[in-house]
Structure formats: C-alpha cells, structure tokens
Amino acid sequence: MLDLEAVESDQERPRVDYVIEVWDREAASSGAGLSLVRDMHDLGAAGVRAVRIAHVYRLNGNLDQDSADRLASELFADPLTQDYRVLDLNASAESELLHSAGPGRDRIDPNAPTEVGLPRYWGQGGKSIEVAFNPGVMDPREESIRKAASHLGVTLTAVRTATRYEIEGAISDADMRLVTDRLLLNKTVQHATLPGERATLTTSPYTFRLVHISLIDAEESELERLSREGQLWLTLDEMRAIRDYFRDIQRSPTDVELETLAQTWSEHCVHKTLKGDIRWKGGVIRNLLKSTIARATEEIAADWCLSVFQDNAGVIVFDDEHAVCFKVETHNHPSALEPYGGASTGLGGVIRDVIGAGLSARPVLNTDVFCFGPPDLPYDRLPKGTLHPKRVFKGVRAGVADYGNRMGIPTSNGAILFDERYVGNPLVFCGTVGVMPRDAALPGRQDPGDLALVVGGRTGRDGIHGATFSSGELTAESEVTSASSVQIGAAITEKRVLDALLQARDRRLFKRITDCGAGGLSSACGEMGEETGIEVYLDRVPLKYEGLSYTEIWISEAQERMVIAVDPASLDAIMEIFEAEDVEATVIGRFTDDRRLRLYYEGNLVGDLPMELVHHGLPRLEREADWTPPAIEPVHLRPAADLTSDLERILAAPNVCSKEWVIRQYDHEVQGGSVLKPLVGIDSDGPGDACVVRPLLNSMRGIVVSCGINPHYGDLDPYGMAASAIDEAIRQIVAVGGPPDRVALLDNFSWGNTAKPDRLGALVRACQACYDVAVGYGAPFISGKDSLNNEYMVDGESICIPHTLLISAISVMPDVTLAVSMDAKSAGNLIYLVGLTRAEMGGSHYYVTHEIRGGQVPQVNVSLGRSVFEGIHRAIRNVQVRACHDCSEGGLGVAAAEMAFAGGLGMEIDLSGVPAEGDLRDDEILFSESNSRFVVEVAPESAGAFEAALGSAPFARIGRLTESPQFVVTGHSRPGEPVVSVPTARLKAAWQSTLAW
C-alpha cells in the first residue's frame, strides 16, 4: 500500500539548495569520536586511529551565497571551536566548493576524492561515510533549524541533517562495511548520502481516489490473504465478522474502514487475548484481565483510587487538592529495529498518556526498565537480522535520555536486566507519573457539536501500521517490511504542546483530551467519539509533506499529537494560547450525536461505520492455555567453603551491578523534587531502593515509586515470579518509608506468542498470582498494558523471550523528611535482618551464576509479608531506622554488602541467628532470595524500641557496622573462620566494573 520511494525531481521549484558542513577544530579529542574508536576496535578494526564527526545540513530555501554563509557562521558553526564550509548545489559540479571559511580552511583539500566523491576535511588515508535519515523519516531537528533561520531573516523550506564520519587510520573495505552496519548506520531509518543530495523531499501530489476492498464475496482463504498482505493482522474470525457486517449492509468496505477496524481491534489497542475466552484446566476463563487483575482492584475498593483501567493512566489521590497518575508502556518491537527512535518515541508516547490522562496532568517523573541480550555477546552468536545487544542498549539509553532530558522530566527509577533470549526482542518499558488538580482527574466528556482539534506535530508517513505490527512476531525481514512503523521523536514539539495544554486546562478551555498513540487519529478519534459519534475531515489534517492518501492520514502514527474536544465558544481563546506558544492546532472534525464514525476527504464520504461495530463488533477470541511446571532436576551444588568469590561474582553480574553509567546520563534532578535519588550514599553511588520525589515544591508530601521484575523466576514458576515482583515493588516502597497500606500497582506483561498454549498458560498463572498477592497486600492495580508477541523467528525457529512481568508501584508519603536511604550511616550501629529466610534458591542469582536451573522459586506469604511491612513502616515512622535495604537478587549477602559500601563502612554479620525455615546451609542463608525481607541499620540506643515496633515480624540482630572497611560474614559451616571476608572497596569495585563503559 505504501510507497516511500521519494524521487528527486527536476520540476518547477527553483533550485536553491546549499549544504553546510561543520566540524570540530580539535575533533580528535571529542568524546563521541573516542567512544566510536573504542567500538570500532571491539569490532576488530584495530587500525582505526581516530574518528572525526562532521555535522551536515542540507538546506533549501530563499538562500544566496551571503545568507548561506551567514547561517553557517552565525548559526551552525561555533566560532571558537568549529570550522565550516558552504557548498552550493545549484552551481555546476566543477565549482561545487563555493566557499570555505574559518581557520581550518587551509586543511581542506577539495581535490582529495573519497569513496563517495566528496572532498575530505582531514588529511589522507582512511575512509568516510555520511549518514542521513531516509526520506519520509522525520528529521527531529528540522523544525528548530527553520525557526532559527527565520531569526536571521532566512526562510528555509526544507532542512535535512546528516552526520559525516571520517575514519583515520587503516581500515579494510570489509571492516568499513562492518562498522557501517554495526555502528554508524541503521538502514531501517537511515541511508548513506550521495553527492549532491538535496533537502527537499519531492513527493508526487495525492489525487483522490476512493478505494473499496472486495470483501463481501471473499472466501476464507481470500480473507486470510487480505489480512496478511494488508498487514492488518486480523484473525480469520475477525475478517469473517467484518465481511458479514458488510454483506448485511450490501456494500464493500473502503480501505480506510478496514484499516480502522484493524487498528481498533488490534491486540495493542484492545487486549483481546486477556479479555477473550481462555480454555484452562477443563474450564473457561472469561476475560482473564477482569477475573484477576481488575477483580483485585474491585475487591480492595480503595477510596484513594480515583480512576482505574478506564483512562490513559491510573489516578490516585495525592493530597486534598491534587491527584497523581501513573502509566507504564512498552515499545519493544520498534526498539528492536531502531533502538534510539523506538525508545525515544516509547517514552514520548507514555508522557503523552499522562498529558492525556483525565483533563491533563503535568509529568513529574519517568521510570525506565530495559531487558537486553548480554552486552558481551560474541558476534557469531547474533541471530540473523538482529542488532547487537550493546548497540541496542546504547541506542535505547540515548533515546530515553534525549527525550526525557529535553522534556525536563527527571528519570527517577528503573532497572536493566540481561538474558540471551532478549537478543531478538529487547524490552523497553517507559513509565511516567503526572500530577493534576483533583477536579481534573477524571476523563472529560464532550457534547455533540463540540469540535475535534489535532494539536502538535504534523502528520506524515511515520509509524504506519505500528499498532498492528506489534501484534506479530519479529523476523529477520522485519527491518524491511516494517520499516515505516518505526519513528523518530521530537521532544521539543511535545514540550510545547504540554506547556500550551496545561494553560488551556487551567482555564478549562477543552472538555476532553486523548493522545494519538498506536493507531493514530483512528484510535484517538474513534475512542473519543465512541459515546457521541464523530465526523472527521481528513483533508484538514496538517501534513508534513504532500502525497498522503486519506487512509495514510487516518492511521499515521506520527508523534507528538494530541486530540482535544473544544466547545466552539472556547475556540478563539484556546487558539490564542496555541499561537502564543507556537503550537499548531487545527479543527479536524466535529462530534455528533448519532454514534457513527464518518470520515470525509475533500467533501467525499470515505468511511462510515457505526461505533457499535468499531468498539463492540470484535468477536471474542478463544485461546487454549496449558501450564506444566518444568521438570525440576535435583540440584547438586557443593558450596565453596569461602563464599567471598560467590558474593563478588553476584555483585558483578549484569543484572545486579551498578547502572551508574546510565543513571548519570539522565537528569534526575530537574524540577527540583528529588528527595531520595536513584544513587545514594556517602559518594552518591549506592543503589537506592524506591525513589522519593516531591511533585509540589511548596509541600513536603512525596511520591514514592519502585519496580519489581525478575524474569529468571518465570522459567520455573510464573506464579512465583509474579508474586515476587509485587512483593519486591512494595518492599522497596516500604524500605524508604512509604506506607504499605497505600500502594497502587501497575502491571506490564511482556510475553511470548500467546497463541501457543504453554505461553498463555504461564500468563494465566502469573495473573492468578497478581490477584492473590494484590488482594493479600491490599494493593490495587490501577493501570496496565501487555505486549504479547515477543518472539523472534530465525531460520524457522522461534526464540521466545523469558516471560517478563514488570510491576511498578506508586505510593504517597505524607512527610518526606521521614524517608530512609539504604546506605550504612555510622560505625557501631546494629544490623538486623527482618523477615523469614527459606531455601528458595530457584532462579536466584547464586544459581544463575553457577548456571544451575532448578530449585524452589521464592513464594509470597502475604500474612507474613504484611507483618514485616507494617513492622518496618512503624519503626521508620518512629525514626528508629538509620538505613534500610530490601533483599532482592543476591539476597542478604548482596543487600548487606551494598549497604556497607554505599556508606563507606565495614560490616560484620553472623548467619547463625537468621530467622529461617528449616535447616539452611550458610550459602542458602546468604544468597536465598526469599521475599519480604529487609536489612536494617539501627542505633544501639534505639534497639529496644525498634524491636518492639516490629511487632510479630520475625527478626534477628545479625551484626554491626565497623569503622574498619572490611565485610565479614561468619556462619556455622566454618566455626572460628569467616565464610566471607573482603575489603568493602573490593566488593564495590566488582559491583562497579561490569558496566563502567
């Protein structure tokens, strides 16, 4: 259907094209260049000495030599650090080099040819390549540059940016291709430019032609073909339902009608697996979501939940005047193909969910959780068509950082996990918390006659079929067939939209709002118009470039757009705000009262569907589920007499080790709300538990946010995995002083293909645990999302990700000055272990590092957990706790070690008194990952009161903090000799070295 081929044409436009190239004068010392050299050496290109980067701007507009030169010297090049040159593409090829300036001029040798025939800036030898976004992929810098040129009196009609890499030193052609493919260029969105390439994207204008799809007489095989070839991802049942509807009304559907149904009925938009029928153990589960997760919320019936499962985000009470909302989304498939763009638009999308929650919230913090393949995976183990995990990791990190930092939203909490099965299918979870006035917490309601406006970015061919694409498995061909579903984000466009909408909200100038996410206008307008009906005039939607058909306009997932409903009487006032903030907003439709979706293009009716069919016509999906616990082999592990190297190995394991390299590149201080930061301790480098953030600067009330995730448990026991994830999320909140009786949960399932009964069976088990543990802890779910087709097909084999459930938790802390951090505070203070330890080693990091599969996965005993949580919370409220850290991966050993080195102190602990179930070995006590446990530091003078506050929770005083920086553990296996004895600095070094890129 789509043809992205954009042809340079020599038609009427006067050719006023210039290229400006800018490079750092002392480029060899640039950090980005040095980092590329390291990456190239990693790939085997050992002869590379330096990589120099030039920024290339292709411009089209009312330019002449002087104005182009002015843009170069006053806008693009820094006079102190950069040189530039200006190329006039309008002149003949012989005189291409029109002008060059700057002290670097004499180093330019215009006659030295390179591979692509362009002059070289730096010396001889080596190779170069210039990388630009493909035609049709948004260039996120174009808009700012056009605006900037206007300040200088120059009108630019088009801008395309590119990056030129000059590689100095010896590099073979084969290595050049390798570094191009692996490091410099992603052909999903980029290409190597050719000499003379221009900024203008000349598309052929669109001529209206109404397209009908012959469906009403189609046989089943024809229906399947239509679904497959149209990338609709509809099942035969669903295609049949559509055919039958149109048979009844005796006409063929138009293409846009069929696309509307495919979008609205996609797994991504409607969660048909979780809401369908599941055959399970001789019975049928009708709507898994309703019967487990939503049921828990219903039964808990917390009066502080304001809006659950009905809006773009879940909303809870913050204080008398304010509410907070929270949403977590996945953006897995796009991030697999284009990590930077996929991750940045993933974050941009979840931020829009919060802007579109209730009557709009102000985002106050972001969370991010990533699952990647091992960063040190040998290239020969990389499945065909996949990007290397390190590249995915770096791209995703950069995408999230660039978007979040630009939006001015602190990234306050997260996790990063690794497993080889994530190689083809990395997971990218992004979350956003927002704050809004209490009376803006609920979704609004429009009236017939109100206007529909699209606000923000323009519509292009970006992201066509994203919603349906996420319903399929990825294959080695995905990068070709699904390229148009990958997008690039423009954070500043979204920031402007946010700034304007919050002003409009405070003056109540719109009645309802939703974001354009998956499915684009189709989803946004279709959802908003459900109760009333809507007509949309597709030719009025502002476009990035000409040539889009009415269907492309309707389903484009171009970023940074919101749809709002506005009373005609408020139109002038709201447009004034948009104009003041440089935000484009356009009336594209009108709400009606006939519950129909009507689409027009240039006066022609191109789509006309009853809302009943759009929203309730989807046949119930029926699926088969089955779960057989894996045969667990008996575990034979002879523990080492000295457990020091086990402890070091676990601390250095990628899932446990320090993530400071990532965290420092996110702004976690912007907005000034941070109270407990992601990194804490004497050197601000210890791993904090939950984050505490004050969303209102004049209030000491705080939001507490955490996450729980452990895919290693899921291989053995999805029920135990889900239960443990909830326990982990809640106990991190409790560890910093958050109230355990006021925790709201979010579920994000990233699963394999649930058409396969074993995958779905595991999902059923996980959902059952969600119900049991949420009800047991009185912690309602308020929002969730699932991503159900995370498998990668290569050579006929499917690699399924580990079943992964992310539980995010949010709570509200009345007084943040009672918050407790995890770093050990003072020598001489006592160390307690609170909670019960069992021989729950299945999926533990101790077993993972010993490559043992088997054992019992940690379970949750909610009455025990409750007593521990309440006891800890009482003690923290009584100011009896100096430090508190939860036991997660690596158990007591890792938690205690992290506390010690985060505080720069030593610690002595004795395992013999630890409250345990059964007769446990020292290694089991030290590394068991039993839930609901905390390591706590208490001053000696508070010991009695602390123990009393714990109530019925099991606890033991296990040691003390020491001035001498040694971590010493004694047990019963080696009387008179410690089982661990090591300088804390060595443990810290092990923990910090793995990801110190």
Partner: protein
C-alpha cells in the same frame, strides 16, 4: 515593594517552575513570560528588575546548546536586552541560560550582538552528566549575587552535556585578572584539581560574571538546592534548614530592594 523578576521562557525551557519558586522563596514578585511576548511587542523587559534565563533545552539544543535562543535574543530583542544590561539591573542565566548568554555575546565581556569570546561546548568525556558538584565562591566576581559567600564551598548539582567553558588563554587570563570567574568546580575542601573539573572547563570555571557582577552565568543549578531535602546526603548528615543555592537568589532580591 518586591522586586519584579521575569523568568524568560522559550520552547524547550524546562527549569522555569523551580527557578520561579526559588525567586519567590527569596522574596521576589515573579512572572514567567514566553519570549514571544517580548518579540511580538506585547511585553517589555524594562518592566522588570531581574531577568532570569532558566535551564532546559531551548529549541532542543538542536545545532548546539543555547545557540538558537541566543540568536533569537540577538536578532529580535537586541535593543531591549542591551538597555537592560546597561542599566543597574540583574541578569542570571542558569545552564541553558548561561549557554545562551555566552553565545549571544553578553558574557564574558560585551553585550548582546558582540562577537562571542567564549563558548560552552561538549563535556570533555563526551557525555551528559547529572551529579552534585562542589563549587568555590569568588564573591568579588559578583557582589550582587554572591554577597557574603566569599571562599565558601557550595554543593550544587549540574546536569548538562555541553558545559565545558572554552576561551582563548589570554581571555581566561583577563577573566582571572578582572575577577570574573564567579564559581569554580572544586573538591569538598575547596581544592582545585582536574578530578573535580567535571566537564573540563578552562580554569575550572563553573560561573562567569560581567558588568560588575550584575550579569551572572552558571552551569550548576542553584534552584535545585533551596531545600534541605534536596541535598544528596541529607539522610546521612541531617536536614539543613535550607539549601545552599537559596542564598544566590536572596542576594539578588536584596540587591534590588
């Protein structure tokens, strides 16, 4: 009468709320105004005593940090800013605001539209960094903003990718001689050293002043440390009554009272 402060906002500004809050805590009457209001002639900078250009990513920092905003001020607001800087008023640029002041030619010497003598460019390690830094105060560089703080070591966070202050050695020498280096990255006891120079700035410069200290640009974010609970080690060292950044805003307000 409370001195009037304008927080100048543009597309991509994102530290406006906390900067306004810091000035309000310090006793000012604060208004946050979009630059369009000034360029379209709807408001005038002369209504205000203090101009604050807050942090953020104006225009996405596309091209380079603060450059597009600097050009906008230079090309569309030159007269108003020149008049503001020439009068006995205060200007503070924080992070992105500092970058804009430098690239507009106002810092380290001159006024809007002058050829820049310095720049703020990529951190030496090539990475965006968010961390708390120690800063040595040179009160003489900016008496209006740093009154009573000479020799103090402040702890204030940075969060930037392009914070390396670059200038010709002779210009740096002149800044040192003329006492225009207002803050320097340092160790916990005020000691200077490469390991504390987080972004590789010339002469460890974290803040530069001009016009008798009435114009101050700094990479660290004092508006992010006005409360005790914002300090990174308050759970270890106890809660202080206020953050160390507040004094800078209070000094500015007192200067104008």
């Amino acid at each position: 009468m409370k001195p009037r402060v304008v927080i100048l906002r543009a597309a991509g500004t994102n530290c406006d709320l906390e900067t306004a809050h810091a000035f309000e805590m310090a006793g000012a009457a604060v208004e946050t105004v979009h630059i369009n209001q000034f360029t379209r002639g709807l408001r005038r900078l002369s209504e205000f005593r203090i101009l604050a250009i807050p942090g953020g990513f104006t225009y996405g920092d596309d091209v380079s940090a603060g450059r597009i905003l600097a050009n906008e001020m230079r090309c569309l607001l030159q007269d108003q800013i020149r008049e503001f800087v020439a009068s006995a008023k205060l200007v503070i640029g924080i992070c992105n605001g500092f970058q804009a002041l430098v690239k507009a030619g106002i810092l380290p010497v001159g006024t809007v539209g002058d050829k820049p003598l310095a720049t703020l460019t990529d951190n030496l390690n090539g990475r965006f960094q968010c961390r708390w830094t120690h800063l040595l105060v040179n009160e003489a560089a900016s008496p209006p903003f740093l009154h009573g703080m000479d020799g103090q070591v402040l702890e204030i966070p940075i969060a930037h990718g392009e914070g390396r202050y670059v200038s010709a050695p002779e210009t740096m020498q002149r800044l040192r001689d003329e006492k225009q280096i207002a803050l320097q990255y340092c160790g916990p006891n005020g000691e200077l050293g490469d390991r504390y120079n987080v972004n590789g700035s010339a002469l460890h410069a974290a803040a530069i002043s001009a016009h008798g200290g009435r114009v101050l640009g700094l990479m660290p974010h004092p508006e992010r440390c006005v409360y005790g609970v914002q300090h990174p080690r308050w759970t270890r060292e106890g809660l202080r009554p206020e953050g160390q950044g507040l004094a800078i805003f209070r000094n500015a307000v007192r200067f104008c009272e």
